[in-house]
Amino acid sequence: MTDPIIEIQSLSKKYKNADVYSVNNLSLQINKGEIFGLLGPNGAGKTTLISMLCGLIKPTSGDFTINGYKYSNDAHAIKKIMGVVPQEYALYPTLTARENLMYFGNMYGLKGKALKQKINDSLDYLGLLKFADKKIDTFSGGMKRRINLLAGQLHEPSVLFLDEPTVGVDVHSKAVIIEYLKQVNQSGTTIIYTSHHLAEAQDLCSHIAIIDNGEIMIKGTPQEIIELTHNAHTLEDVFLSLTGKALRDHV
């Protein structure tokens, strides 16, 4: 029995002065409890799709709901149940890790002892408690990624959007982040995640969609889509088979 949390109907986005659609008539359903991987080459439309779902940009056409809510009517309700972890380190560099987390927690309506406890526990889990009162601009890339993740997840959202959460981090930080995401998912958060790390996605995601030219090429569980693709043994085989081997550099 499926219980959809995100339902996308014929969603399209064409940027001003662009020749082609970044997201083209895309329909998709993501169910509660899934870790849904959006994979695709550079410029495939992953970030555009996530940005629309997060309310950062407006679709050209089409519609979607998150937990039954539409942005046009219930933007505040959606924002309350949604967490976002952007690709950039979306943190104040001159504030400490704790100050950043307190502030973003406050913006989700969290406060007092409960918030402080949640911050301490999460920092401890991610190995950052002893750096809680250090400024972000003294942190390494891996440490910033972990704080970035925490800032979007403190309020235990129903849906968590992650745009390449492990890009540019070392193996140890990546392992901690992946482990943390699994734990977050087990506690009831649906995760929508984009990445270029196909092996990581194969390990983490319960469901995957490969997207290219703004359209979904294939979707299903990692195992299903490997089986559906001729001569494919890994996600990487599927990916190359569907998107080709040509470079996707563009400006």
Binding site: I57, P86, Q87, E88, A90, Y92, F104, Y108, K135
Partner: protein, 427 residues
């Protein structure tokens, strides 16, 4: 409300961590106000300790040149130099020194000026007197010798400003007129004999007196401090545009703006946090500058700022001016993509707003077109409101139109920022 407080707290923390920025926010306006007032004070004060050294070449060496020297010396504006190294200076030397910029002015008194003036006046007086006595005596043709007009030559440093040149020319013109008048009186006195001296009262008949406003039986004579502190305080308040716009641009480049836009917090709360924080900064700047005007200025030889019970109303004007400045900063930060765009544009636009607002040159002295433009400058509204309160002793009712305009400016700037932000999301 809790989110708003936390936004304010965050903004305060960000400012606190930027020690250099804080110093600029508070120290630079103080340096500005002290420097400008010191300069303005010495430029316009009548009894000043600062005397401008000028060269005087005395080719006359007579009564008139002595009078000119005496009057210039007594004017308290000039230090008259007539010799260098124990040697009298000549016209060529004076011209070279002035044109090289070593001196602002040289006055060349022509040869035989005293003698010539005396002769010319005596001839004229004699001629008049003969005309008067024609009835009693046989008419004799007056032997009027044509005296060529004498010329006092002035050399100005080419870099001298027109206002300075005009002021000097007017002073010297007045001085020469007085000397001529005195000489004419003396000639008549001599012609009529000593017994008629009493008939010539050389005191000026027409004089002028400035009638200044009275408040609480006290004359209100504005000094340069009363003009400068409000004007330059307003200028400093508007400079909040620069750090505020940088703050907003930074949030965009750091990505924290993305996080805030996806948080369940309204853009109004985010802007509200910034508005209140930066408004507090504006007010602190304002009070600091008032304190400097009241307590530091007298210690460095400047006239103290006298508020005369206008503190509360001045604070209201500062608050609304601060709002206008913050609104402008929010719009600039929202529209600018980089700090390289926002910082120079912010600084330059504040200077332009100050110029057209009358902070540097009074609006009445501007060309007609600029006078109309000045009326749409928020800095002009703030400045006029400050002057209305401090110098014209208006009540709150009198300054309501300006306060309304400043508030409207803030609301329009903020509304345009929100509209622009919304529009950008639909890229």
């Amino acid at each position: 409300m809790y989110k708003l407080w936390m936004s304010i707290y965050k903004e305060v923390l960000l400012l606190k961590r930027d020690a250099g920025g804080l110093v600029i926010l508070f120290v630079m306006p103080l340096v500005l106000i002290i420097t400008i007032t010191l300069i303005q004070d010495s430029t316009f004060k009548t009894a000043t300790e600062t005397k401008i050294p000028i060269l005087l070449v005395d080719n006359d060496k007579g009564e008139v040149s002595e009078l000119i020297k005496k009057n210039l010396g007594e004017s308290n504006s000039f230090e008259v130099i007539t010799s260098q190294g124990g040697k009298s200076i000549d016209e060529a030397f004076a011209k070279e020194k002035v044109f090289d910029g070593d001196y602002q002015l040289a006055i060349i008194i022509p040869e035989k000026l005293s003698e010539g003036l005396k002769e010319k006046v005596e001839e004229n007086v004699t001629s008049i007197m003969q005309g008067v006595m024609e009835e009693d005596t046989v008419a004799v043709e007056p032997s009027v010798k044509k005296e060529a007009p004498k010329e006092v030559r002035l050399y100005f440093d080419p870099a001298s400003q027109t206002a300075f040149k005009t002021a000097v020319k007017s002073t010297i013109d007045k001085m020469i007129s007085q000397i001529e008048t005195k000489t004419i009186y003396n000639a008549f006195t001599e012609q009529l004999g000593e017994e008629s001296v009493a008939a010539f009262n050389q005191e000026s008949y027409i004089s002028f007196k400035e009638i200044v406003p009275m408040f609480d039986n006290k004359e209100m004579v504005p000094n340069s401090t009363q003009h400068n502190v409000p004007a330059w305080t307003l200028f400093a308040i508007f400079f909040i545009v620069v750090p505020l716009s940088i703050n907003i641009v930074k949030e965009k480049s750091q990505g924290t703006n993305v996080r805030l836009r996806t948080n369940p917090v309204s853009y109004a709360t985010v802007i509200g946090g910034k508005t209140i924080t930066y408004l507090i900064i504006c007010m602190l700047q304002f009070y600091l500058m008032l304190a400097v005007g009241m307590y530091v200025f007298p210690k460095i030889g400047l006239s103290p700022l006298e508020l005369d019970g206008t503190f509360a109303l001045m604070s209201v004007v500062a608050l609304f001016s601060g709002l206008a400045a913050v609104g402008f900063g929010i719009l600039l930060g929202t529209v600018a993509k980089t700090q390289e765009q926002s910082a120079p544009f912010g600084a330059t636009s504040v200077v332009i707003l100050a110029a057209i607002g009358g902070v540097w040159v009074p609006v009445f002295a501007m060309p007609k077109i600029m006078q109309h433009i000045a009326k749409i400058s928020p800095m002009n509204w703030g400045l006029e409101a400050f002057y209305d309160v401090l110098l014209r002793k208006y009540t709150i009712i009198g300054i309501l139109p300006y306060l309304g305009l400043l508030l409207l400016f803030f609301l329009i700037m903020t509304a345009v920022s929100i509209f622009y932000d919304e529009k950008k999301r639909a890229v």
